[in-house]
């Protein structure tokens, strides 16, 4: 097998063909959550719902754990997983905190702190970007 489009970026796995193959069943289940009736069916009997979508053992375990890093490792795609997270009322800060091993407050503070990043050198004199 050829080298897939792997990322050397720390903390980042690109959703490439290899992940798309690995995660197909899990992502298909998550895609079904676009419909409210499917979300209810999942909540009513998660195990039966996972069997219907033929999740792998790794995927089912990741779903049970509700750990985003485990779901990603099992081939989950961020865009589809977001629908799974939505079922449990988790927003992007909850998920960010969980993945980075910190509290929601600390995660949000880190986002705010991005304002202290240095400006692009030209930003202050060429065409000003207001912010």
């Amino acid at each position: 097998m050829n080298a897939p489009n792997r990322s050397a970026i720390p903390g980042t796995a690109l959703f490439d063909g290899e992940m798309a193959r690995k995660g197909y069943a899990l992502n298909k289940m998550c895609f079904s959550f676009n419909e409210a009736a499917n979300r209810q069916a999942f909540l009513a009997d998660p195990e039966a719902y996972m069997r219907k979508y033929r999740l792998t053992a790794q995927q089912a375990a990741a779903v049970r754990s509700r750990q985003v890093l485990a779901l990603l490792e099992a081939g989950g795609n961020a865009y589809y997983l977001a629908k799974f997270a939505g079922i449990f009322g988790l927003n992007m800060q909850d998920i960010g905190a969980q993945q980075t091993g910190t509290t929601k407050e600390a995660f949000m503070a880190r986002l705010q702190a991005a304002n202290q990043q240095p400006d692009w050198p030209a930003a202050s004199h060429s065409t000003p970007v207001s912010h």
Partner: protein, 283 residues
């Protein structure tokens, strides 16, 4: 021929829909974001586009991995919104412009773009939120749309070079459309953000600023980057800046150039560095 009058760009985040629904525009968290829009509202009230070509990325509402397009062009008379899985407020259907859709489709096919045509298409927050942000006083924005989806879900993404060519070709198509309509192009996406992995929360202010400046004066700047390089600089979802690139490329063959109407940059909304931009085509 139709007149291509300018371009718009904005970040999109599902939470913005919630803020609008709850009327939080003056809330301290939201105000610095919504403050980016009034000068553009004034401009839009003056130039009044009739049709918007919307470059956006589907977030797993209309497209799945069983049939994942690279570029998909809407050709419907109406585009329905839907619950995306989060119980977010849905929008009323948006009117399409099938005449322009099919004109663009013919033009793209003749220029060797291998597009997917969509006579039925659910559009998500990436397509509907910009309409609420740019036309806040209208229950339904007074425009018809042609949505064009660009894949950001599955790698490899279309290269930045290819997206630029797509935008340029769409711009040429608009200008060869036999119509009296006034057309604007809109980009929905970015700027730097990353939702997943240990790197979640990644934001790159200097890159965003340079990218926004390139949108005014150096439109091909970002075409130098591969998809992986864009992720490195802008984050896994920051690659949505490809939408801006397509929008900007569409303007490169119109008029005598562009002038910046207004731009605004704010960190953060949700996990995202947000940008908004309006460009006017100079006659």
């Amino acid at each position: 021929m139709a007149r291509l009058i300018g371009g718009l760009a904005t970040s999109h985040i599902p939470a913005i829909g919630g803020a609008i629904a709850k009327g939080l525009q003056s809330d301290p968290y939201w105000k610095p974001f919504f403050d980016g829009f009034p000068p553009i509202h004034d401009w839009l009230a003056r130039v009044k586009p009739d049709v918007l070509v919307v470059f956006y990325n589907d977030h797993g509402l209309n497209f799945f991995l069983d049939k994942m397009p690279t570029f998909a062009v809407g050709a419907a008379a109406e585009y329905a919104n839907a619950d995306e899985g989060w119980g977010i407020p849905t929008s009323p259907p948006v009117a399409g412009c099938p005449d322009l859709s099919w004109h663009i489709i013919r033009h793209l096919m003749a220029q060797e773009f291998d597009i997917v045509t969509c006579q039925e298409m659910l559009v998500d927050h990436a397509c509907t939120l910009p309409l609420k942000l740019f036309w806040p006083n209208d229950a339904v924005a007074p425009v018809q749309i042609v949505p064009i989806d660009i894949n950001t879900v599955q790698f490899p993404l279309p290269t930045a070079k290819r997206v630029y060519k797509l935008g340029k070709t769409v711009g040429a198509a608009i200008q060869s459309w036999r119509s009296e309509q006034r057309v604007a192009v809109l980009a929905s996406g970015g700027l730097s953000h990353q939702l997943e992995g240990e790197r979640a929360g990644f934001i790159n202010k200097a890159f965003d600023q340079q990218f926004m400046e390139s949108m005014v004066s150096n439109p091909e700047w970002a075409t130098q980057f591969s998809d992986t390089e864009l992720v490195d600089r802008a984050g896994t979802q920051g690659v949505e800046l490809l939408m801006w690139l397509a929008m900007r490329a569409a303007l490169t063959t119109a008029g005598a150039g562009v002038r910046k109407v207004h731009s605004h940059y704010h960190i953060p909304i949700s996990n995202t560095a947000t940008g908004v931009l309006a460009l006017e085509v100079l006659a």
